[in-house]
C-alpha cells in the first residue's frame, strides 16, 4: 500500500466544482453536480456508487471524452500537473490523453478496433506520444505485452482482438493505456465484465504495474470489495455528488453517511457469518431529471429530518481526511457503531 503519509507536493489532479450535464428531450439533466476531489501522486483512489451516480461521467469529463452534444461540461476546474485541462486547446488535450492520463474502459471488445491488429493498436500511441516507429515501436509493443502477461508476445502482435479472450483483451487495453507511461491511470469498471478469477488477475496486474511506475490509479466501480482491497482513499457518489470520502478504513469501518451505511448493509458478505436477511436501502435511485429538493438521498434515508429536504448539506470534515455531506452524520455514525458491534 502506497502513501498513507500525506504527500508534501501538490496533488497530481485537482477537480474543483465540476458540473457536467446532458441535454435530453426532457430538458437538461445534471450528471455531475459539483464534484471536487484530489488525486495524489502514486495513490489509488476509488470512486464508488451505483449506476447513474455520475462516477463514469466524472472520469469522462477529466479526459474530456464526454460526447458533445448532448453532454457539456458546464463549470469547474480540472487541474492536472498544474494545468487546467478545461482551458487548453484540443490539440494540447490530445497530448494529455495517453501520455498524461491513460484510461481503461469496461468493454474491451468495443474499445479495441476489431479490424486492426493488436500490434498496430499498441504502436499507434507509441508513435504519437513517444515518437517511436518501425522496429523500435514494435519491440516496445512486444515488451508491453510481455509486461501485462501475454505469452509469445511477438507473434500475438499480429492477432486481431477477436482472437483473444476477454481477459487477454483487457490486458491489451492495459498495455495500451500504460504504453506512454501516464502519471494517472483511470480504470472505469475495467473488470466488471470479467469472471471473478480473471478479475483478480487483472486487478493485481493494474495495481502492480502502477505501483512499479509510480503512477496514480483511479478505480471506478460499484464493487465495494474491490475498493476495499486496492484503494487508499475513496469517494462515495450518489446522484452526481460526492457524499462521503476518506481512507478505506474510515469509510468502511466508520461510515458517516446514510448512503454509505446502506450500501455496506446491502451486500451479502463472505467475511461475516451468513445472515438471514439483508438490510437494503428502501426505494430507488431518483430520476436525475427530477432530483428531490435538499439532499437527494432524503426520500430513501432513515435518518432524514425536515431540514434535509429543504437545504443541501455540503461536504464537511468529520475526521482527519474523512469528509461527509450529511446533517445527521453524528447520529448516523453513532447508531452504526452500536448496530455493528
Amino acid at each position: 500500500m502506497t502513501s498513507d503519509s500525506p504527500v508534501n507536493s501538490s496533488p497530481l489532479l485537482q477537480v474543483r466544482d465540476l458540473r457536467t450535464s446532458f441535454t435530453t428531450p426532457e430538458g437538461k439533466i445534471g450528471a455531475v453536480n459539483g464534484v471536487s476531489f484530489d488525486v495524489n501522486h502514486g495513490e489509488t483512489l476509488g470512486l464508488v456508487g451505483e449506476s447513474g451516480c455520475g462516477k463514469s461521467v466524472s472520469a469522462l469529463s477529466i479526459m474530456q471524452l464526454v460526447p458533445n452534444p448532448p453532454g457539456v461540461i458546464e463549470t469547474g476546474e480540472i487541474i492536472f500537473e498544474g494545468v487546467d485541462l478545461l482551458k487548453i486547446s484540443s490539440q494540447e488535450m490530445q497530448s494529455v490523453r495517453g501520455a498524461g492520463i491513460g484510461m481503461i474502459f469496461q468493454e474491451p471488445m468495443s474499445s479495441l478496433n476489431p479490424v486492426l491488429t493488436i500490434g498496430r493498436q499498441i504502436t499507434e500511441p507509441l508513435g504519437v506520444h513517444m515518437g517511436l516507429s518501425g522496429w523500435a515501436a514494435e519491440s516496445r509493443a512486444a515488451e508491453l505485452l510481455e509486461m501485462v502477461g501475454i505469452a509469445d508476445s511477438r507473434r500475438r502482435l499480429g492477432d486481431h482482438p477477436h482472437q483473444l479472450s476477454g481477459g487477454q483483451r483487457q490486458r491489451v487495453m492495459i498495455a495500451i493505456a500504460l504504453s506512454c507511461e501516464p502519471k494517472l491511470l483511470i480504470a472505469d469498471e475495467a473488470t466488471t465484465a470479467l469472471d471473478v478469477t480473471i478479475q483478480a488477475q487483472i486487478l493485481e496486474l493494474m495495481k502492480n504495474l502502477t505501483s512499479e511506475s509510480g503512477a496514480a490509479l483511479m478505480i471506478i466501480t460499484h464493487n465495494l470489495g474491490i475498493i476495499a482491497r486496492y484503494a487508499d482513499r475513496l469517494n462515495v457518489m450518489y446522484a452526481g455528488k460526492i457524499r462521503e470520502s476518506g481512507t478505506a478504513e474510515q469509510v468502511y469501518l466508520q461510515p458517516n453517511h446514510p448512503y454509505t451505511v446502506g450500501l455496506l448493509n446491502s451486500v451479502p458478505r463472505l467475511d461475516r457469518p451468513a445472515s438471514e436477511r439483508l438490510d437494503p436501502i428502501e426505494g430507488e435511485i431518483p430520476d436525475p431529471a427530477n432530483l428531490p429538493a435538499g439532499c437527494a438521498f432524503t426520500p430513501r434515508c432513515r435518518w432524514a429530518t425536515e431540514k434535509c429536504s429543504v437545504s443541501e448539506p455540503e461536504l464537511e470534515q468529520v475526521k482527519d481526511r474523512q469528509m461527509v455531506a450529511c446533517y445527521e452524520s453524528k447520529t448516523v455514525s453513532e447508531s452504526v457503531e452500536i448496530a455493528w458491534k
Binding site: 478469477t197 483478480a200 470489495g225 446491502s266 451479502p268 451468513a274 438471514e276 436477511r277 430507488e284
Partner: protein
C-alpha cells in the same frame, strides 16, 4: 416486506423426496461444417454429466464462471434446449423425451426468471398482461374480475402497486422490471423457480431488496429455487446447498455453510479467494490464490480433469484421468484426486 423468521432446518433433505432430480445430464452442441452436406466436425460439451437434487422449499445455488454450463443446464431442466442424454425427473415424472404439448402442464409448475430485466419483458405489453399471461395460457383465471384480482394481488406480492398494471415495461426501473419478471414467474403457482442470474444486473441496493423478496416468497409458498449466479457471496446468502460448475461438470457440491467454511476442491478454493470483501483490513491481510490463465474452450477441453491446466496443485495423474465426484465429508462431494475430506 416484513421480516419473517426463516427456519434453517426446514429443509431436512434426508427424509423427503426430491422435487427435481437430475441424473447424468448431458447437453452437447454439434459444430457443423460443410456447404451442401453438413458434417459434424466438433462438439461443445456444454453440460457433461451433471447430477443434482432439489427438495421442496430448498435453494440450490449453481455457481461457475461464464462458459461453465450453468445456464445450459438450467435450460435443459425446463426442456428449453434438447438434452442429449440423461434424466430429469420433476415430481417423479421423467421430462426428457416429453413432447412440447406434454411439457406444457409441467412448465406451469416451473417458473423462470432471467438476467436481463430489459430484454425479457415484451415492450408492447402492459405490465398487467405480462404478469397475467401465464394465468391465461394455463387457464387459471376463472372470470374477468377474478383475473384482474389475481394480477393485482401478484403485483402486491412482489412489492409493486396494482395501479402499475396499466403501464408499459419502459416505464419501470430495472429493479421494478425484475419484480415484474418474478410476478410472472410465480403467477401459475409453480413449485420450482429457476433464477438465472436474476439479480446480477441490479445495483447493490436493489439487489438486496430482490433477495429479500425471494426469501419471503420462498417462506410463504414453500418454493424451491435453482439459483444460478457467478457472485458467490450472493449465492451463499440465499442457498441451502451449492454446486460449483467448471467446464460443464459439477466439481464440488455441499451444504452452503460447509462449502464456504471448508471448500475442498482447489477451484472452489480459488473462486472463494478471488472475491474481494468490503473490509479493508481483512481484505489486505488475506492471502489469495490467483489462478493462472483462462478458462479452456469447452470445444477442446484438456484431457483428464478440466481444471488441471489452471490448478495450483495439479499432478501428472490429473491430466491422465477424469476424477469422479466422491463423498469426502457429510453432504459434501468433490471431484478431485487430491482433495481430502475431514
Amino acid at each position: 416486506m416484513t421480516s419473517t423468521s426463516t427456519d434453517i432446518n426446514q429443509t431436512n433433505s434426508s427424509n423427503s423426496t426430491p422435487l427435481l432430480s437430475v441424473r447424468n445430464l448431458k447437453v452437447h452442441f454439434p459444430i457443423k461444417r460443410g456447404f451442401l452436406v453438413q458434417r459434424e466436425v466438433a462438439r461443445v460439451r456444454a453440460v457433461d454429466g451433471v447430477s443434482f437434487d432439489i427438495y421442496p422449499g430448498e435453494t440450490l445455488g449453481l455457481v461457475g464462471e461464464s462458459g461453465s454450463g450453468k445456464t445450459t443446464a438450467a435450460k435443459a431442466v425446463i426442456q428449453l434446449n434438447n438434452p442429449g442424454s440423461g434424466s430429469v425427473k420433476f415430481e417423479g415424472q421423467e421430462l426428457v423425451g416429453l413432447s412440447t404439448s406434454a411439457m406444457r402442464p409441467i412448465r406451469r409448475k416451473m417458473g423462470m426468471v432471467f438476467q436481463d430485466p430489459y430484454g425479457s419483458l415484451n415492450p408492447r405489453m402492459r405490465a398487467g398482461d405480462i404478469v397475467g399471461e401465464p394465468l391465461k395460457v394455463h387457464g387459471l383465471a376463472e372470470s374477468r374480475d377474478g383475473y384482474r384480482q389475481q394480477v393485482a394481488s401478484l403485483l402486491t406480492t412482489v412489492g409493486l402497486s396494482p395501479a402499475m398494471a396499466e403501464r408499459y415495461p419502459n416505464e419501470f426501473s430495472g429493479g421494478q422490471r425484475q419484480r415484474l419478471g418474478i410476478a410472472r414467474a410465480i403467477a401459475a403457482k409453480p413449485s420450482l423457480l429457476i433464477l438465472d442470474e436474476s439479480v446480477s444486473a441490479l445495483d447493490v441496493s436493489i439487489q438486496a431488496q430482490i433477495l429479500n423478496l425471494l426469501q419471503d416468497l420462498q417462506d410463504e409458498y414453500n418454493l424451491a429455487y435453482l439459483f444460478i449466479a457467478h457472485d458467490l457471496s450472493v449465492v451463499r446468502h440465499i442457498s441451502h446447498r451449492v454446486a460449483v460448475m467448471y467446464l460443464g461438470k459439477i466439481v464440488e457440491t455441499a451444504d452452503a455453510k460447509d462449502l464456504y467454511e471448508r471448500p475442498l476442491h482447489p477451484y472452489t478454493q480459488a473462486l472463494l479467494s478471488a472475491i474481494p470483501t468490503p473490509d479493508p483490513i481483512h481484505e489486505r491481510s488475506r492471502e489469495r490464490i490467483i489462478l493462472r490463465g483462462d478458462l479452456p474452450s469447452p470445444l477442446s477441453p484438456p484431457p483428464g480433469c478440466g481444471f488441471s491446466t489452471r490448478c495450483p496443485i495439479a499432478t501428472e495423474a490429473c491430466s491422465a484421468a477424469v476424477p469422479e465426484l466422491k463423498t469426502l465429508a457429510e453432504n459434501q462431494q468433490a471431484a478431485c484426486f487430491l482433495a481430502q475430506g475431514r
